[in-house]
Amino acid sequence: MSDLSNVTTAPHSNGGAPPGDAVAPAVAVDGLVKRYGELEAVKGIDFTVAPGETFGFLGPNGAGKSTTISMLCTLVKPSGGSARVAGHDVEHERDEVRRNIGLVFQDTTLDGYLTAEQNLRLHAELYGMPRGAVSERLKQVMEMVGLWERRASLVMTFSGGMKRRLEIGRGLLHSPRVLFLDEPTVGPDPQTRSSIWSYISELKRDEDITIFMTTHYMDEAEYCDRIAIMDSGKIVALDTPEALKASVGKDRVQIQTEDDEAAIAALREKFEIEATIAEGAVTFGVSAGEQFVPRLFAELEQPIRSVNLSRPSLDDVFMSYTGKTIRDAEESGQSDMRRNMARMMSR
């Protein structure tokens, strides 16, 4: 974790990415800083995101993750450093960046007085999409998010989950190379959340799209190829979910035996492991649990009725890097992005 700028683990290569895209990173951030007066919201961060990667930004509110995403989306001007998105500088090639990114904000940005299709057509016009391509593409994205049948309904009649899906569809309409999702699954019900994730994985397969998202749902961070944990304006950890969890330490093993007392004694003798009884099972921690369990079966004399191996969760990771529980991060429902926007607009 010493030199974060060089951590660019490639995602699982899904069968030959386009040669041009493979070279330039989808997002390249170099010493990015944002100051609001005295306050340094982002304190010089570096990272790159490979094309086709799903990159997650995790952190408590106020950590600077939304400020960072706002800078990458050209909504906020950096105070220092630079960032390139889809090969274009966010400060000097703003329109180029905007053309190549899709944005889905936490708060809805749809016009409720227009129909779903009108909202998307308006977007197509604003983004100057070739006229001949709009209808086909529109149908495809609306089918993808399951709203084609409801295209003629006014958006104000949609549920929160449907609005979110429509926004994701709209964000994809102009075939962005990078899709930014700010807390995409906050608000909607669990069903919608899981369907949103199935679109995202479908997208990755079909469109070679790079996804850059913020979330504070730990189980969702698992879907990401890599995760950056941000705290107090700095990236404190950046790696694959697996590697992050491994960095925290031991797996938890729970076994049920005929004679727990004997098993505990045997563990102490044979493996030098201090086990305790927890949740009605013999419980202990080991590193690389999946390699340990076969040894356990081979060498422990007491018959084992069941075994349960659990990895450290990302909650543990989050806690160990930020010193806060994820609950703190979830306290504030308001997105930083909205505050940034309000700040800009009121100038």
């Binding site: 989306c73 050209t74 909504l75 906020v76 001007k77 703003r94 329109d95 180029e96 905007r98 053309r99 190549n100 944005l103 904000f105 708060d107 809805t108 940005t109 749809l110 016009d111 409720g112 007085y113 227009l114 009108q118 057509r121 308006l122 977007h123 016009e125 604003l126 983004y127 100057g128 999409m129 070739p130 006229r131 001949g132 391509a133 086909e136 593409r137 149908k139 495809q140 994205v141 089918e143 993808m144 998010v145 399951g146 084609w148 994809l172 309409l173 102009h174 075939s175 479908e202 079909d206 469109e207 070679d208 926007m341 309000a342 800009m344 607009m345 009121s346 100038r347």
Partner: protein, 308 residues
């Protein structure tokens, strides 16, 4: 125009377009290449923002109705009531005919201000962001917005023009065109004015308060309800400073030229605007409104371009 030919190309190289069926795993989505920014893309952005105003206006029948209530109250209730009092002073001219130009302006102003106010709504409901992050110039967004507001306000003016016959104004094509043209000009200037303020106002209540603070004084000072012939000095000065004066006066002059009225009535009711005794020609009156509108439009564009 070359960019237009860059149409959807299936990414994977398969020639077949995606199946029309419902979303199934494995269907592929055609990629679209968005062409570089051009004058053409800016014009499309202006057009779609304009069109959105029209769609929203046509959906909101209630708004079409409610923004006519106040002007009609002035025209028919106040107009009839004061008309009986003012009979001796109008030299036989229907008082409702006299106040009609001001009422027409009022209807246009209310609608124009409401259209501009939708920027404040758009900000509150987030839609403004969708427009602000689009890869187009902010000036295109503002131009589309002002054009849209002006169009719906002028349409509202057209409804008032349609009832002109009820207040003894003849349906003469030339007159109708002249009234409509002036309504359009007022609609443009007031929308630009409203958008200029909406750029800085975050709350609907504040905007509504501003609207009341601006529209009513402008209406009263413009000479909509009285003749500017023999005003006390202080009111004459305020009247000349009110931009709406320069819309009401040419409208009234146009109407009077199509009426059969005595020279005395014309002198008393439609004396024309003077600056230090110099009679301001109609062309200059029109220019005053047009220039003010353009200045406010420029300020509005500048303000929106400043926002990051």
């Amino acid at each position: 125009m070359a960019a237009e030919t860059v149409t959807a190309t299936p990414r994977s190289g398969q020639a077949s377009p995606a199946s029309g069926g419902p979303s199934t795993p494995g269907h592929h989505v055609a990629r679209v290449r968005v062409p570089a920014r051009s004058l053409r893309s800016e014009l499309r952005a202006i057009r779609v923002v304009w069109k959105r105003e029209l769609i929203r206006f046509s959906r909101d029948r209630l708004r079409i109705l409610t923004s006519l209530i106040q002007p009609f109250l002035f025209l028919f209730v106040l107009g009839t009531g004061i008309g009986t009092l003012a009979k001796t002073g109008t030299h036989g001219v229907n008082f409702k005919t006299f106040i009609y130009p001001g009422v027409l302006c009022m209807a246009v102003m209310f609608t124009a201000m409401f259209s501009a106010a939708s920027i404040v709504w758009d900000r509150e409901f987030g839609f403004l962001r969708e427009m602000m992050v689009a890869p187009v110039r902010r000036s295109s967004i503002v131009l589309g917005k002002v054009a849209g507001g002006a169009t719906v306000a002028a349409f509202q003016g057209l409804i008032v023009i349609a009832i002109a016959g009820l207040v003894d104004i003849p349906y003469n094509l030339g007159l109708i065109l002249e009234l409509f043209g002036l309504s359009l000009l007022v609609a443009f200037a007031i929308t630009a004015f409203g958008v200029m303020f909406a750029a800085r106002i975050n709350q609907m209540q504040s905007f509504m308060a501003l609207m009341q603070m601006v529209v009513m004084p402008m209406f009263f000072l413009s000479g909509a309800m009285f003749s500017v012939a023999a005003l006390p000095q202080w009111l004459a000065v305020l009247n000349r400073l009110d931009p709406l004066t320069y819309a009401v006066e040419p409208m009234r002059r146009a109407i009077f030229s199509h009426l059969d009225v005595s020279a005395a009535a014309r002198k008393a009711l439609d004396p024309g605007i003077t600056w230090f005794g110099w009679r301001v020609p109609t062309a200059l009156e029109v220019a005053v409104i047009a220039i003010l509108g353009l200045v406010m439009l420029s300020v509005a564009i500048w303000e929106f371009s400043q926002a990051e």
